[in-house]
Amino acid sequence: MAFKWGTLRGAFYEVRLVEIVQTAATVVVACLVSFVLNRRLGTGFKQRELVISAVEHLRALLKEVFSNGQTYMEDGGLNNAQVILAELKQTSMFLSFLIRLKKEVPFRIHIGDSTTRGYWAFKKCLTDSPFGESKGVYSLQRRKNLTTLYELLVEELELCKLRLYR
């Protein structure tokens, strides 16, 4: 018998109760799994977003120190020096906070010893002698070093942000 296109066979409508229950159960399970996965992934993404904003805040603090540091290396001044020290304290406090945060989230934050060492090197380059001296003059090499160390820190923070989504 030739198949007639456009006409459904009578058997098509003969769905048994068991099949209806099975289909309904499958749909319910699929919905539940989807809900749980969405919720978990959603929380993970939100936590990652929070960490990223914290890393960006640290980067902004470093940028402020770097900018004021360059001005200080040019012009000096006791008040400028005090501002830099206060900003460095804030930066160090925030870096400590990020390191502590590593223990609170279920994923890896790539901030640690190398970031801390990089921060110390940056701080040392700026606030070791002649910092605070009334007639202190920074060498050109020292100024270049400050830029290099700042760039390395920024690069590390950017990589940390990227690695959060791996």
Binding site: S96, D128, G132
Partner: protein, 105 residues
């Protein structure tokens, strides 16, 4: 145990490296507070340094005060006697330790 609170007993705004650089230098702190405590070789009591409350510490101050005392009396003795407290800036403690250890190199 002896306790020294830098912000309360010395200055809220510690300065640079040497006395000639201005007030509240690392050299001044070392000579005024640390040297008298280290001068007696038989005294092994702990010296607790509270770092909280100050506006911030320059590397030059930290190196001259703590690295300086290590250069005078030895790294081992300094690490044994000095204990640091910093609730505000925990990384500062590790930073100071590096200056003390570097003083022995």
């Amino acid at each position: 145990m002896i306790r020294i609170n830098i912000a309360e007993q010395f200055s809220r705004t510690p300065g640079a490296r040497y006395r000639s650089d201005g007030p509240h230098s690392g050299e001044e702190f070392r000579e005024k507070f640390l040297v008298p405590l280290f001068a007696n070789e038989d005294d092994n009591s702990k010296i607790e340094i509270v770092l909280d409350g100050a506006a911030g510490y320059a590397t030059s101050f930290l190196d001259e005060a703590f690295g300086g005392i290590a250069r005078l009396y030895g790294v081992k003795r300094c690490l044994e006697r000095l204990a640091f407290i910093s609730n505000e800036e925990p990384l500062l403690i590790e930073e100071i330790r590096t200056y003390i250890e570097e003083a022995g190199k």
